[in-house]
Symmetry: C2
Subunit: 240 residues, 2 copies
């Protein structure tokens, strides 16, 4: 079974939702047969690289919240994160473009290091005083190396804005096609969808349902008993 998770590094509920999903997955009996794939979703795609702003300022400007409302939201998120055992800095976080991080996550996927990098990006952004938006590309290179990637290769990816850009945009299009208008968005075997950082029990239910209803394949073309060109335990078909 395959679970695709659309998320953004700048999305607190994605950080919390990932932990809740992983709690459900860790207890799922067929977890060894579940593959998890990260998909890109930019919450703020119009923001330019280097255009960084304090989170509270962004919340008040973009969403018209008062400073107190914005801070209360952050405090609430801190409480929810703590309930999942996650550190969350409710003060002095910043916000910016995540496009390069998504490009880097696609590179990491090719190298089998996607989940490691995503977790490190979340931790740096939400739990540590290491802004993922500052230090030019070098902070992201540092985090890529922590995730087991080659630093020079990561630097090359970051320096060329076209690398993996199509993959990031394709993920966003696919999310829209699947009906997602926010993240985190979980898709199980392209059959079940879970929107938002739902409680772990909901993920358990989704995993169980999707597992139990794994689809029966519909054959296309001749069946293999019908002279198809295939090899089996009894040898390879030899067409006349």
């Amino acid at each position: 079974m395959r679970v695709e998770i659309w998320s953004d590094i700048a999305c607190p509920w994605c950080y919390v939702g990932k932990a809740r999903f992983e709690k459900a997955l860790a207890a799922f009996p067929h977890r060894d047969q579940v593959e998890v794939v990260h998909r890109s979703f930019e919450l703020d795609p119009g923001r330019a690289k280097g255009d960084t702003v304090d989170v509270l300022t962004m919340l008040t400007k973009k969403y018209g919240m008062s400073q107190a409302q914005a801070q209360a939201g952050e405090d609430n998120l801190g409480t929810q994160a703590a309930a999942e055992g996650l550190a969350y800095r409710t003060r002095d976080r910043d916000h910016g473009s995540t496009f390069d991080m998504h490009r880097l996550l696609h590179f990491a996927k090719e190298q089998g290091r996607q989940d490691e990098l995503l977790q490190i990006l979340y931790r740096a952004n939400f739990a540590e005083e290491r802004s993922v938006y500052s230090e030019g590309d070098e902070r992201l290179v540092e985090l890529a190396v922590e995730a087991g990637l080659d630093g020079d290769a990561a630097r090359e990816v970051l320096a060329d804005p076209d690398r993996y850009a199509d993959e990031v945009r394709a993920d966003a299009r696919e999310a829209a096609q699947l009906g997602a208008n926010g993240v985190p968005f979980f898709v199980l075997d392209r059959t079940y969808g879970v929107s938002g950082a739902q409680p772990a029990e909901v993920f358990t239910q989704a995993l169980t349902q999707a597992w139990g209803e794994r689809p029966v394949l519909k054959p296309v073309g001749a069946a293999d008993t019908d002279g198809a060109q295939a090899c089996g335990p009894d040898g390879c078909a030899v067409p006349q």
Copy 2:
């Protein structure tokens, strides 16, 4: 969309079928949104590492063919391969255990080099005088390096028979669950199945059908309009 292909390096129809599938994929308008994954299937799982035999001898012994029948089958495969532009040695090929190659393909998947390695293994086995069964592990290390893998890392994987062994066996179990009794076996979005090296037109039909019928997701848990904890273009939900 995702296409999983169960196959074995020792399976001539897998070699031919891969080329036919790729011909269909190259002409498929949504090819950029198709992900192809190799899955392991051993045709001869009982054969021990190092137990290598001439293909014609294996065919006559295991399947009770006459030498002439076996050779005619190989010649026929050579003709079918040539029609796909593939070289195929109809004489002096050998046969042995492919377990280590499947383990190595799972390692290559982690490194984003799976398709490269599979193609190189097929070519060495069917088209070149480089037996994939001889030279101890060093021939496979040589081919792994050609596929862009680190030679020492590949050697370590090959030296430890437990590495990726579970993944190889899980693939085989999954093939059986999906109803495959031979290879190649193609599964599109876990919805459509194609058995055998069918003509490219059949793959085109399968790709088109599967694309057109991409499933509508069934939601599990609260919808995101219903107070779920998610972030969207209008900000992050703040639970009361």
